[in-house]
Subunit: 336 residues, 2 copies
């Protein structure tokens, strides 16, 4: 039960970065020494340290009060620093990780090597990394005589990991919807900066946005990442429309380094790995067979709802995770 509690904290932390770690998995890690939590951290995104590195960095600081390590941002530098300075302070500590620590030399040395060198007492892993070149971490840890436990809250960890497993072998597609509490979707009901920031962060990660022709004509969207300081990436756009005639002064057509397709089919999705569909119920009806997950923002508002008279196909979902996003709720769900 104690192991489940710490893994649950790691899973919850990782969900904060769900989708933003693309093409990496969302992973969380918790370091515990003699029952005391030293750190709860997650992988923040590609190019940034893995969850284990973030959590061990913070834990080192908690144990030593040595601020030097807080200045180190690159995974390589943190690895090097910890190799040299750990002085066996982790030898009664346990690291809880939602995914098997990686075991390959990519841009940085493997996390399993870091755990081995720091001589942690125990590693608790929610689920194994079966499909990736990074697997094999457990074998290394066991050879180093570290106590390894696998499979704590495995179902929840596999759900967290699902987008990664999907985009690794094929592609992952989610349907983004924003609504009022009573189901009004006209106008894209997002109530706050936090939710808008998250949407722009998403656009910085995804390859392709699918949007309906009517939404493009009515909303005249830009669909770029202008809210982000350091993003130069803007996703390609597939306008799903029979009528291929569009006013090209609509801002989305005038974003550098972007392809815009106007098609009456969805074939283009096969050239992309991480795809967001935007739209209302018509779009949902048209795309429901290709959707992996739903991402639903619910604004805390109730008001007249007049746009929902059309028949909507019955879609039964399972809620995966709900997070407060500013004043909105952000719900991850999948088809039941």
């Amino acid at each position: 039960m104690v192991d489940e509690f710490f893994i649950s904290l790691a899973i919850k932390k990782a969900w904060e970065y769900q989708f933003l770690t693309y093409p990496n998995p969302a992973v969380g890690a918790v370091v515990v020494k003699d029952g005391k939590i030293l750190s709860i951290l997650a992988h923040h995104g590609a190019g940034k340290p893995h969850a284990e590195v973030e959590a061990l960095k913070e834990a080192y600081y908690k144990l030593t009060n040595d601020k030097t390590i807080l200045k180190l941002k690159s995974s390589n530098k943190i690895h090097e620093f910890l190799y040299k300075n750990h002085n066996n302070i982790f030898n009664t500590s346990t690291i809880y990780v939602t995914l098997e620590p990686c075991n390959h030399y990519g841009k940085t040395p493997p996390c399993s090597l870091l755990v081995e060198k720091l001589k942690l007492k125990k590693v608790v892993i929610a689920t194994l990394d079966l499909n990736s070149e990074a697997s094999g971490g457990v074998d290394r840890l066991k050879k180093a005589n570290i106590n390894v436990k696998v499979g704590v809250l495995e179902k929840e960890a596999k759900e967290l990991l699902y987008p990664f497993t999907k985009w690794q072998k094929d592609k992952f597609i989610f349907f983004k919807m924003a609504q009022s509490l009573n189901g009004e979707i006209t106008g894209g009901y997002i109530s706050c900066d936090e939710s808008l920031d998250f949407v722009h962060e998403l656009r910085d990660k995804i390859d392709l946005i699918i949007i309906g022709g009517n939404s493009v004509r009515v909303d005249r969207p830009t669909l770029d990442t202008r809210r982000l300081k350091n993003s130069t990436k803007n996703p390609d756009i597939l306008i799903y429309s029979r009528d291929k005639n569009f006013d090209k002064s609509i801002p989305l057509f005038n974003i550098p380094n972007r392809k815009v397709f106007i098609e009456d089919n969805l074939n283009e999705i096969n050239n992309y790995k991480f795809i967001m569909i935007e739209g209302g119920y018509e779009m949902l009806k048209a795309t429901k067979n290709i959707i992996d997950w739903h991402l639903i923002f619910i604004a805390p508002k109730i008001f007249s709802n007049t746009n929902l008279n059309k028949p909507i196909p019955l879609i039964e979902l399972n809620y995966l995770h709900t997070i407060k996003s500013g004043v909105d709720l952000k719900i991850f769900a999948k088809i039941k």
Copy 2:
């Protein structure tokens, strides 16, 4: 930050019993020894031990492995047992409580006395109990030379406490709504046993249900607590209706020990302390000025929504807390 983390766990646990502790406050407590969490528990309801007693009972078991204490259910027995057997094992422990420990001899001795006798090192309190006869716990603890810290996550703790403060000085009224994800309310969209059980538990606590005449005629509800094994209480009913003619074979009229009022006004609310309003948008419009909080169940379903063509008054909310309730979401919210 560490104190905030432990208090946040206590607050989260307490929300699981929000409304069910009536007329007591929802309170959570966490016991921590040398940074290690020993217990996270909440007050489960009137007549049951306070959160501090539950948490110290569990913590005692964790520290001693003595199962004797687990058999004790009454607060008095747990108090007595701990007085005799604590052997100063808590003298490096901290208890985190969302509300000032009580200081009055009611059916059980005060929690502040228990904490004093067990000689805890520190007590961290999110918010004080200013209005109640139970206040004064902090003074007792300070006199006993226990380190007391007050005001950690105070805003969140006051929100958790709000129904209690309201029903203490006057009355607390919440509007219960159950809907599909896309806002369909016809049929009372609750998807699972967990949510239905919670609604019956609510009916066991509240004094009065307000319901619209049309709902009574169409749904022919019973509005009792039949899902609960040990409940004999069924709330009184105020049918808010201009037309006072009802088929008296509708089950709600035939529940023992229940008053049923049929009125075209809401004056009857002044005779009650804890009131639930059931209904749709018409009822919401009629009662919105007397509502303290909203309780919204959202079923994980999307389907044709044809009942929302009528104008609805704009209501802006703040989400207070969201919990998964079986497959549904259960959202506590208040008017912004």
